[in-house]
Every structure is written in structure tokens, then in C-alpha cells.
């Protein structure tokens, strides 16, 4: 996996506990890197499982799950985008199956996938094009550190570390 990511500027690469999370790797990426990474994964015979978003206080966390057929090494790519401009490049040109997943994510969260060939409502009706059912209310929305674990970090930049920093400090103080 690390070999595969060579040459791609990642924000954070971490190993995950397979038993408790069901995944092997977690990779934070900047929106601009997602297409390049998807192409590398395609060349390494990964197949797309799903694309969806999480509504958190920091913005939208768009998640991509990939896995290979004969080696069980599930990878999750995470791209954090802001609420003001929820735009992210589409990977439908590499994984055709992403087209529908991206349309579904647009329906549910209002994330705009730039370059998707057919970004019209898929599951929601056309009349409700601006209604996004999975958006959280302010009261229910949580911060990323309250929801996710970073895992066993291999490399990580400061911005992502800062997102999780407080949670780790709290754990340390509890101990």
C-alpha cells in the first residue's frame, strides 16, 4: 500500500485494526489528489466498493472504499471538503461504477462531484433537487474526533493531526 501511494502527496496514512474496523488502511487526501490515487488503485487491481459522505462539523468527509479480489486489504480514502464549497473531482472516468455512487452522494448530502458525466438525481426525485435528507441538524452534528479513530499512524501532516489532537489529549488525561 505504501509503495502504491509513492509520489502522491497524502495528508495522513494510517493502518487500521482489521478486527474492529474491517479495514486495513486509511488514507486522508486533498481533493486534488483523489483522481490520481484512484488511477493508481485501478492499476493495482483494486475495485470500488462504495462512495459516500459523512456530515461532520469540519465539513463533509467523503469516503471511498476499495478492495482487491484476491487479497483482502480494504482501503478507505477520506477527503475532507468544506461546507461552503462542497466540490470534489469525480473518479467516474476511472471507475465507471463511481458515477452512481457519486450521484447518490449528491442526492443525500449535496456534495458536488466535478466531472461526473451525469450529475442528476438518482434516488431522490427531480423536484427535490436541493433537498438533502442526510444533512444533520447543528445539534446532532459531531466533530470528527468524536467519531473516528486515526489508527496506527504511518505519516501524518499537522492539519489532520490537529483534528484528532484533542481527543487523544483527553484519553491521555483520563489515563
Amino acid at each position: 500500500m505504501l509503495q502504491l501511494l509513492e509520489g502522491i502527496p497524502t495528508q495522513c496514512v494510517a493502518k487500521q485494526d482489521k478486527v474492529s474496523t474491517g479495514r486495513a488502511w486509511s488514507v486522508f487526501l486533498a481533493p486534488a489528489q483523489i483522481v490520481k490515487t484512484a488511477r493508481k488503485l485501478y492499476e493495482a487491481e483494486y475495485s470500488l466498493e462504495d462512495v459516500f459522505a459523512l456530515d461532520i462539523e469540519e465539513g463533509f468527509l467523503v469516503l471511498y472504499h476499495f478492495n482487491r479480489w484476491n487479497v483482502d486489504e480494504r482501503v478507505v480514502l477520506r477527503v475532507l471538503i468544506s461546507k461552503d464549497n462542497p466540490t470534489i473531482p469525480s473518479i467516474a472516468s476511472i471507475f465507471d461504477g463511481a458515477e452512481w455512487h457519486e450521484r447518490e452522494t449528491r442526492d443525500f448530502h449535496g456534495v458536488n462531484f466535478e466531472g461526473n458525466p451525469n450529475l442528476v438525481p438518482l434516488l431522490m426525485c427531480v423536484e427535490d433537487v436541493d433537498f438533502h435528507p442526510l444533512l444533520k441538524t447543528d445539534k446532532k452534528r459531531k466533530q470528527i474526533k468524536d467519531l473516528l479513530n486515526l489508527g496506527e499512524v504511518v505519516s501524518c501532516n499537522k492539519e489532520i493531526e490537529a483534528l484528532f489532537a484533542e481527543a487523544e489529549a483527553e484519553v491521555a488525561s483520563d489515563a
Binding site: V19, Y42, D50, L54, D72, R74, I94, D96, D146, L147
Partner: protein, 390 residues
């Protein structure tokens, strides 16, 4: 131009109008569905045909959309289990399993050995009902009425078996976090034991009646090619992928529960066409029987009860975190991803439906085939519309 074409209501809806924008000269645009019988639910496909040949097509989903993922965010962890029986009426046990498996991962729960065996037996029996439903309905789509009567005859026996531990005949939701709701009683075990040899006897008749039938073979052989590369690009799994020659099965390649204890094969076909997918599913039924047989043999020595002691209540509070759990359903890889914020209600439930990805490949597979082939391809994907739309 006839007078009709000026009428507002003759223009078609948003999707038809958008599809019409790329229309070639001399072609015709037709809507297959949302009420077409071969779509088995409310699936609509807008198709552009040149004579009888499909130039391009676009599936329009959402007619059966119920927003299960939102329902997941509004009810308790345990309260969401009945939804799992309704996502996919073909193979609800596998969906039950995917969801409770994800929650168990989150909570770090180990299920008693006996419960694992019960889950395997029930899920495999349910896989048989799923494949029988597909088999009968597929042949019905292709114009033969009788086979579905035989398939439902056998399926009826399975439903009688499955209703004993689950108290329902179609939308099962008897899995619980920590085990299953009820144990299999003696009568039920006896029924399963008599069903296995009975069904083994029936399978050759299925082949004699249908598989070798020349009309069927002409309809499905070489039709609707979905090869390995397409599967990778679209994320197709299950019999579609195995029909393209890849021996991928979550039960073997991402082993969960106790599937590593059973001796069974992953049937594959290299033809990548509708016939390949047909043969894979029929061969899988025999493998499911093998798994059930072995599970029944090992069941008496399994430790524990059908559910763990002090199993979590429906209002459980899993610790904050995330978990992804995948199982092999009748149609392919079912994945459930859950995020918890430590409260009684899930923060996010994402359902990965195998049919959704399989259907995505339809437009490319159907290009250049004739309209009647579209029905053969749709059926070979084994579509369950509630699962596509969720």
C-alpha cells in the same frame, strides 16, 4: 409533425427529455418500465433503439426508494434490524448478518459458536430461496411458465423451514446483536435433513427441464458480456463476477464467522455472459447444500447458546467509532458501514448493495444487443429493486 407532438404531456419527464438530447436520426426512444414485468419491481430503463438494436440505455432508479440510511439515523441500533429484512426480500438473512456483524465489530462482541452455526444454516437456506426465486422468475421472463412452479414448490418447503425460527416467511429480521432470536427446534432440524436429499434429487430435473434447453441456450449464451475489467470498473460482485471467471467470494476471500470450517467450492464460469451467470447460480445451490450438511453435522458439538448471555438491548450504546462488515449475499458483496458517536442512535449507516453496482454495468453490457436481449441481461443480473433503491 403530428398534433400530438405539440402537447405538453407528450414531451416526457425530466429523464426522457434529457435522454432525448443525444438522440440520433431515425432512432426511437422507449421507456422499459417502471411497470415492465421483467423488471420485477419498479425499475425504469430509457432505451434508444435503432430498429431492434439498442443504441444506448439509461436506467432510472428511485421508484422504490425508502431512505433506509436516514431511518438508520433516527432509530435505535436494535430498532434498525427489521429494516434489514426489507432492503432485499430475496436474501434478507445476509443483510441482517451484515448489519449485526458491523455493530458487533464496533462493540467488540464475540458471538457464541452455536449462534454462528445457526446463522450459517439460516443464511444458506435463505440463499437457496433467493436463487430459486431468481431461477423461476428468470425463466419466466424468457417466456417459459412452468419452471417457476417447480422452483416455488421447493422454495415453499424452505419457507416452511425458515418460518419456524424467524416467525416470518419473507422479510426475516431474526438476527440480534450477539446471536439470533430463536434456536432451531428439533422439528426444524428434521425438516432441513429431509429437504437436502429431496432437493439433491430435484436438481438434475431442473437441468433436464431448463439448463440444456436449446431455446434457453440460444437466448442467453454470449448475451450481455460483463468481463473481468468491467466488473472491476463497476464494482460488480457475486455471481456476475464469478460468471466472468474470477473466483471471488467474500465467504472465502474475506472469511467471516465460521465459513473457514466448511469444505465448499466457488463455482466460476469463463464465458462472462448471461449463461455463465446462470450456471454459476445453479452450481451455487449445490454448494449451499454442502455447507448446510456440514453445519448440521457440527452443530451438536458447538458451544454456547443461540444468543450470548446478557446480549445488548435494542437501546445499546456502542462506543464511538466506525466499522465496516461485508458478507456474501445472493447477489454479491453486501457491505454495511456504521459510525457511532456513543449514543443510542447510529450516527451514520451506509448500505452497500451488490445489485446497485451490478445494475450499473447494464447500460454498457446492453449496448448493441437487441431489445429482447435486454430482458435476458436484466434477469441474469438477479435484480431485487428494493435493494437497488434502498
Amino acid at each position: 409533425m403530428s398534433a400530438y407532438q405539440n402537447l405538453e404531456q407528450m414531451k416526457g419527464d425530466f429523464y426522457t427529455q434529457k435522454f432525448e438530447a443525444g438522440k440520433q436520426d431515425g432512432t426511437l426512444i422507449i421507456n422499459m418500465g417502471p411497470q415492465h414485468p421483467s423488471t420485477h419491481g419498479v425499475l425504469r430503463i430509457v432505451i434508444e433503439v435503432d430498429g431492434e438494436y439498442i443504441v444506448r440505455s439509461e436506467p432510472v432508479l428511485g421508484y422504490l426508494h425508502r431512505m433506509h440510511e436516514k431511518m438508520g439515523e433516527t432509530q435505535t441500533w436494535g430498532g434498525f434490524i427489521p429494516n434489514m429484512g426489507r432492503v432485499d426480500y430475496g436474501h434478507p438473512m445476509a443483510w441482517n448478518w451484515a448489519y449485526v456483524g458491523a455493530v458487533e465489530k464496533l462493540m467488540g462482541i464475540e458471538v457464541p459458536e452455536r449462534a454462528e452455526y445457526l446463522r450459517v444454516i439460516m443464511t444458506e437456506l435463505n440463499r437457496l430461496t433467493s436463487h430459486l426465486l431468481w431461477w423461476g422468475a428468470y425463466i419466466l421472463d424468457l417466456g417459459a411458465f412452468t419452471p417457476i412452479m417447480y422452483a416455488f414448490d421447493d422454495r415453499e418447503m424452505l419457507l416452511d423451514i425458515l418460518q419456524r425460527p424467524s416467525a416470518s416467511r419473507l422479510t426475516y429480521s431474526n438476527f440480534r446483536v450477539g446471536g439470533v432470536q430463536m434456536d432451531l427446534d428439533d422439528k426444524c432440524l428434521e425438516l432441513i435433513r429431509t429437504f437436502i436429499p429431496h432437493f439433491r434429487e430435484r436438481l438434475p430435473m431442473y437441468h433436464d427441464l431448463v439448463t440444456e434447453n436449446l431455446i434457453l441456450r440460444r437466448r442467453i449464451e454470449g448475451v450481455g458480456i460483463i468481463d473481468e475489467d468491467m466488473c472491476q470498473r463497476y464494482g460488480c460482485t457475486g455471481p456476475v463476477l464469478r460468471g466472468a471467471g474470477v473466483a471471488y467470494d467474500v465467504r472465502k476471500d474475506e472469511p467471516y464467522s465460521i465459513y473457514d470450517r466448511f469444505d465448499f467450492e466457488i463455482p466460476t464460469q469463463d464465458s462472462a455472459c448471461s449463461a455463465g451467470r446462470y450456471h454459476v447460480r445453479v452450481a451455487e445451490m449445490e454448494q449451499s447444500l454442502r455447507i448446510i450438511e456440514q453445519a448440521l453435522e457440527q452443530l451438536p458439538s458447538a458451544e454456547g447458546k443461540h444468543i450470548m448471555d446478557k446480549a445488548p438491548k435494542p437501546s445499546m450504546k456502542p462506543p464511538a467509532g466506525e466499522a465496516y462488515f461485508a458478507v456474501e449475499g445472493g447477489r454479491g458483496k453486501i457491505g454495511v458501514y456504521v459510525v457511532s458517536d456513543g449514543s443510542k442512535v447510529p450516527y451514520r449507516v451506509k448500505l452497500r448493495a451488490p445489485g446497485f453496482s451490478n445494475m450499473n454495468a447494464f447500460a454498457e453490457a446492453a449496448k448493441g444487443t437487441i431489445l429482447a436481449d435486454a430482458v435476458a441481461i436484466l434477469g441474469s443480473l438477479d435484480l431485487i429493486i428494493p435493494e437497488l433503491d434502498r
